[in-house]
């Protein structure tokens, strides 16, 4: 299981270009979208600057993107023989799926670490507490694992890149817009609010926002529980369907 994480680290050591380029988008959100929208002053952020408000949301959005497209790597590995070979090893399917998912969590952490300095530069005030900050990244790590498991699940049904790209977009955008990443849930129409209540991204954003920006931890337990349930369910589903991917 851990060996998959090691694999990811070794890959990153050799080539980090993808991470840098993927960081461009969240940086733009924070550096451009945030300041522009904050001049509107129409969004009730609970007393914090708008850019600060969206920073965790954008961070989560970018790490989720990364994780959802992790399945694309699975599709690639399916086209090559790697997955076939992995499935013929004695390693269990659960270990393989969870390992691969968490490996995506590693990528997500690095992605986040690239974005944070830019947020600091633009003047986003983080809660000055190292323990909070680290906890936030632990949550990002596990949440990304869960999203990567979704993507492995999707990959085991959509076996081609083209189909995967399409469905990947179709999953991410609703998750993003129907979450509290860019605006509080209370602003949404009722139907979307219901959706947001089952949207794992909302819980992740809520937790990281509490830990990084507001310092308000009242919902933290619920958020962590939500992420844990989400991870467990996704790991199980992805493991069950994983064998289908090579058939």
């Amino acid at each position: 299981m851990f060996v998959m994480i090691e694999l990811e680290l070794r890959r990153l050591r050799h080539d980090r270009t993808e991470l840098y380029f993927r960081a461009v988008q969240p940086i733009l959100w924070i550096v451009v979208f945030g300041p522009v929208m904050s001049s509107v002053k129409g969004i009730p952020t609970g007393g914090i600057p708008y850019t600060d408000f969206i920073t965790p949301g954008v961070l989560i959005q970018s790490t989720t993107f990364l994780s959802i497209f992790y399945g694309l790597m699975m599709v690639w590995e399916r086209d090559s023989g790697i997955l076939k070979k992995l499935l013929v090893t004695p390693a269990s399917r659960y270990a393989t799926v969870i390992g691969r998912s968490m490996a995506s969590g590693i990528r997500a952490i690095f992605q986040g670490l690239i974005v944070v300095p830019f947020a600091l530069l633009i003047g986003v005030r983080f809660v000055p507490n190292a323990a909070y900050f680290i906890s936030a990244f632990v949550i990002i790590f596990f949440a990304s694992g869960g999203f990567a498991a979704i993507s492995i699940l999707v990959a085991s049904f959509m076996k081609t890149r083209e189909r995967f790209m399409g469905i990947g977009q179709a999953i991410i955008m609703p998750l993003f817009f129907a979450s509290n990443a860019l605006y509080p849930v209370q602003m949404m129409p009722q139907a979307l609010q219901y959706f947001s209540a089952v949207n794992p991204m909302s819980y992740v954003v809520d937790a990281t926002r509490g830990l990084m920006i507001t310092g308000d931890l009242t919902n933290l337990l619920i958020d962590v529980a939500a992420v844990a349930v989400f991870d467990t369910v996704m790991f199980i589903l992805a493991s069950i369907s994983f064998k289908r991917i090579i058939e």
């Binding site: 060996v3 890959r11 690639w76 790697i82 013929v88 090893t89 390693a91």
Partner: protein
């Protein structure tokens, strides 16, 4: 023979994809432990499907298959501990080094940290990759990638290695190196090698036993020598000028005492005889009297190609597909 001496056995193995494509149509074969066993056949014959069933990736539709006495459907996890497998497609990560690939697989296989280093170095040396072990795999040649994949398969000292088209797309010299290393590994460790190929010469040179497969059926089994001897004598090959060979003339040729078999493939007429020199005049006479004009006549010892032609009714087509797979492999490397 004791059960444990049999590496692979299948009984009436059938695989039907999506309820219609019959990939395997009742395969019966036995491969003893410690030998190199070749599955020889054209593309789409069912070679890959067979290997994927034996490596527990696919479930057979009906019939049974055993690897070292273990049932592939029920005892898959025990089989996976004994075998290693090299798929036809590329199966290493290209964005890390060769050594790192082996390290990751060694950990997946659960090789203890004490032995890991020496085992990896041994595998690298075996495959003559020890000088490039720190280079990224994306800089390797096709032959080197293949050798790395086989090195991977050697890590656990498996009881049996399944190799699906191990030298597809490689040039003759790279092919030769791969097989030299495989043969010496087999001698050292007594591993059984079960491989599929559509190269005649590969099956001929490097296998102890061959099963010819066509359209999901085993049409003939034996050693390369046995297969060739089963045709007997020599082959006279005529390139016909006109395709005016009727059934009547074929029958006449077949009914000639000294002719053992007659195979017509497009404009190529192969006639099997015990001794070509003494029989040639007589056969030419028959052809002439039937009004058949020949362009070229050649006499050869039977090759596996002839064996294949006789039992499967077609020649092994090789050219198109190799370049196709080679280009797919290149494409995958580029990502």
């Amino acid at each position: 023979m004791e059960k444990t001496d049999v590496a692979v056995s299948t009984e009436k193995l059938v695989k039907i994809y999506k309820g219609k494509t019959r990939a395997l149509d009742g395969i019966d074969l036995t491969a003893e432990a410690g030998i190199a066993f070749a599955i020889l056949g054209p593309n789409g014959a069912g070679k890959t499907t067979l290997i994927r069933i034996l490596t527990t990736q696919l479930k057979p539709t009906s019939g049974d298959a055993h690897v070292f006495g273990l049932n592939v459907t029920r005892e898959g996890s025990r089989i996976r501990r004994l075998i290693s497998y090299v798929p036809q497609e590329m199966s290493v990560w290209t964005d890390i080094s060769g050594y790192e690939n082996l390290l990751i697989y060694a950990k997946i296989f659960g090789i203890s940290s004490k032995e890991r280093k020496s085992i990896i170095h041994e595998a690298l040396e075996n495959m003559e990759l020890d000088e490039v072990d720190d280079n990224l795999v994306s800089t390797y040649s096709g032959g080197m990638v293949r050798r790395l994949e086989i090195a991977c398969a050697m890590l656990i000292k498996p009881k049996i290695m399944f190799l699906d088209e191990p030298t597809i797309g490689l040039d003759p010299s790279a092919k030769k190196v791969v097989w030299e290393r495989l043969t010496s590994f087999k001698r050292q460790c007594g591993v059984t090698i079960f491989f599929s190929t559509h190269y005649m010469d590969e099956a001929d040179l490097y296998s102890d036993r061959i099963a010819i497969i066509n359209r999901g059926r085993i049409v003939k089994q034996g050693t390369a020598e046995e297969l060739k001897r089963s045709l007997g004598g020599e082959v006279i090959l005529f390139n016909l000028q006109n395709a005016g060979l009727t059934g009547e003339s074929l029958r006449k040729l077949r009914n000639t005492d000294t002719v053992k078999d007659v195979i017509l493939n497009d404009s190529e007429l192969s006639i099997l005889v015990e001794d070509a020199e003494t029989n040639l005049p007589c056969i030419i006479n028959i052809l002439r009297s039937e009004g058949i004009k020949t362009e070229k006549i050649s006499i050869t010892k039977p090759t596996l190609d002839d064996v294949f032609l006789k039992y499967a009714g077609i020649r092994l087509e090789t050219s198109g597909r190799i370049s196709e797979v080679a280009s797919i492999r290149r494409m995958i490397r580029k990502g």
